[in-house]
């Protein structure tokens, strides 16, 4: 996918999302007008309207520049492709997000220290740690320190 195509998809998606907000979400989840001041839906409608207008402007701008390039230099119509660093790596994202999402339920089920310890081992493994002794020491050290700080230092309830 070229950068231009990706941009068009993004702006198109934003425009559709903006329309969905304006037509359905904001009216459904905003309280009625109390009779004075401005309506609760005004600011959300204005901001979503701005988002919608700007995304449509961006699509028009992309279309106009595409037409101009096509007329003058047809061989340049194929725009640059996104580099490796600019691409979205969904598997990489999921690999780190899933343990983070599961951490709090695991703490509730197993306790702060066991869940935190296992979490740290898993995340270190995903980050490329292959030395078990270092991994265990870091996990024990950090989880123990935070447990002590929260329980005895700050006196806050643990998750």
């Amino acid at each position: 996918m070229t950068i231009r195509q990706r941009d068009n998809l993004i702006y198109g998606g934003i425009a559709l999302g903006g329309a969905a907000f304006l037509l359905w979400i904001i009216p459904a989840f905003s309280p009625p007008h109390p009779g004075y001041g401005v309506s609760a839906a005004l600011l959300p409608n204005v901001t979503v309207g701005i988002i919608l207008v700007l995304s449509v402007l961006a699509l028009i701008r992309n279309f106009l520049s595409y037409i101009l390039v096509k007329r003058k230099k047809p061989e340049d119509v194929r725009a640059a492709v996104a580099s490796q660093a600019e691409k979205v790596h969904l598997w990489h994202l999921a690999r780190f997000m899933i343990p983070c999402v599961l951490l709090m339920p695991a703490m509730k089920w197993a306790g702060f220290i066991p869940a935190g310890f296992v979490f740290m081992l898993v995340i270190q493994y995903f980050c490329g740690q292959r030395k078990p002794v270092s991994a265990v020491l870091v996990a024990v050290g950090l989880v123990g320190f935070l447990y002590a700080a929260m329980r005895y230092g700050l006196g806050v309830p643990l998750p």
Binding site: I14, F29, L43, I50, C127
Partner: protein, 499 residues
């Protein structure tokens, strides 16, 4: 009167007060460097500790904490591109590129000197001109505040991104998220999707941690794992010119420091705007004034100087409306009201009559905290640099776990952790698609005061459509805003068509 002033300053030099100010500064630097813990949070956690201190020591400790946190936020920002606090985000634009070149220590030194300079400037202003400056702040009514926020968002939307359209979309998205919670007039839930946890609104902490720190770590890990560790190895040059700031370089930044300090002081004195607005505004102005603005964002010392001086200048300036009018300039100042009340004092104009010696003792503590910050920063610089040289496989998991616990600690809520992960997910895509997450955060921060000022204007004018025309300052600000928006959109179209 002179005896009272001298007595106040002598009170601040009591050894116990000095000790607590020093502890506050050190704790603040550490807290600010950890993503998720910022000055206001550190103050909130430590207010109970201040029960056991004398009033001067307590306020000195808490103010030292706040000052340290402002500099601390730039440490993780410069060295890891994951600012500990939102106001340090602009510092990363030039700080992190310098760190990637092996000049991380140099970048941190400039951040430290700028932080101390900005802080010192606003402290002097606080001491000398608090009352007249507060009356200017009083003149800013709801129409002026509404217009000023419109202008601030427009200026900030153009920062850190090649497209102002994307910046404006991100800022508008941030405002939209800021409207989640209780509607300010009717106090009914709005856009809460029937989740009771959202009725109190979304806190800045999960957004700040998720978007600034967590998402950045995920992206850096991507580079580390997929593209090879050499891509993100952070080394430090041993050459003196790469480690220290020469007098010539510092002299070249003096005007920048002065302008940014003034900007930060003015913004800090206006309740509600906050340090992020000050730092981005100062950065933008410095970039526009520069002879080679294209160098900004690639390791320009002036960029670091402008951002840090402005955000640190807010610390002292935010106490101006607090001391003179009893109105806190920002969250930290609001928390300080609690500390004042605990020790039997009510901030406001009467403080100068009833507790003048105490006020001057606080001024003394502010100056001392500044000096301590310089010392702590200089001594701690090498330690900070050593910490980030730890292997990525050890450093990043520690930061990830700290981010999660940090977002829980804000309000002891697991829901905040979920929010943090959600916004980290959003920020990942925003960064990939060049939508500036900083604009989002600024929009989110300013949304409540923007809407409140709009509501106040509408209600007080009884729906008069010509209400703004009776406020010349508001009109001028709105005209400038429209001009900036139209010019930027036109420029964006011209650039795209030329390319």
């Amino acid at each position: 009167m002179l005896e009272v002033i001298i007595a106040g300053f002598i009170d601040s030099l009591h050894p116990l007060n000095l000790l607590f100010v020093l502890i506050g500064v050190i704790a603040g630097v550490i807290a600010g460097a950890i993503p998720g813990i910022n000055g206001p949070m550190a103050i909130a956690l430590c207010i109970p500790l201040s029960y056991y201190m004398s009033p001067v020591a307590a306020i000195g400790f808490l103010v030292g904490l706040n000052k340290g946190a402002f500099f601390g936020g730039s440490i993780s920002g410069v060295l890891l591109n994951a600012p500990g606090t939102p106001e340090a985000a602009a510092t990363t634009w030039d700080g992190y590129p310098l760190a990637r070149e092996g000049k991380g220590e140099k970048a941190l030194r400039m951040a430290l000197y700028a932080s101390v300079s900005g802080d010192a400037f606003s402290t002097v202003v606080l001491i000398l001109v608090a009352a007249p400056l507060a009356t200017v702040a009083l003149y800013m009514g709801p129409p002026e505040i509404f217009a000023l926020i419109c202008l601030a968002m427009t200026i900030i939307a153009g920062l850190g991104t090649q497209s102002i359209l994307r910046g404006l979309i991100a800022a508008a998205f941030g405002v939209l998220v800021g409207t989640v919670g209780m509607e300010p007039v009717s106090a009914l839930p709005r856009l809460t999707f029937h989740l009771y946890q959202l009725e109190r609104g979304i806190s800045l902490v999960p957004i700040g941690i998720g978007m600034l720190a967590f998402s950045e770590i995920i992206i850096q890990l991507e580079r580390h794992i997929k593209l090879g560790s050499a891509e993100c190895a952070l080394s430090f040059s041993s050459k003196p010119e790469d480690r220290f700031i020469s007098w010539t370089e510092f002299r070249g930044c003096i005007k920048t420091l002065l302008r940014a300090s003034i900007a930060g002081t003015v913004v800090g004195a206006l309740p509600g705007l906050g340090a992020p607005v000050a730092s981005f505004f100062a950065y933008d102005q410095e970039k526009k004034r520069s002879k080679n603005p294209e160098a900004f964002g690639k390791g320009k010392l002036e960029g670091i100087a402008a951002s840090e001086a402005a955000n640190s200048a807010v610390v002292g300036a935010s106490l101006i409306p607090l001391f003179t009018l009893g109105i806190p300039g920002n969250v930290a100042a609001a928390l300080l009201i609690g500390a004042f009340v605990i020790h039997g004092m009510i901030p406001g104009p009467l403080m100068f009559e009833q507790n003048a010696q105490f006020i001057y003792a606080i001024y003394g503590s502010l100056i001392i905290a500044n000096i301590f910050l310089l010392g702590v920063g200089r001594i701690g610089l090498k330690s900070f640099c050593k910490v980030v040289q730890a292997p990525a496989a050890i450093l990043y998991p520690i930061i990830i776990f700290t981010c999660i616990i940090g977002s829980y600690l804000a309000e002891y809520s697991v829901f905040d952790v979920k929010l943090m992960l959600f916004f980290a997910f959003i920020a990942y895509f925003m960064k990939k698609f060049d939508f500036n997450h900083i604009c989002f955060i600024i929009g989110f921060i300013l949304a409540p005061i923007w809407e409140t000022s709009l509501q106040q204007v509408i209600i007080s004018s009884q729906n008069n459509p010509y209400m703004f025309f009776s406020r010349p300052v508001a009109i001028i600000l709105m005209v400038i805003t429209f001009y900036v928006v139209i010019k930027s959109i036109r420029g964006s179209f011209k650039k795209a068509l030329k390319a």
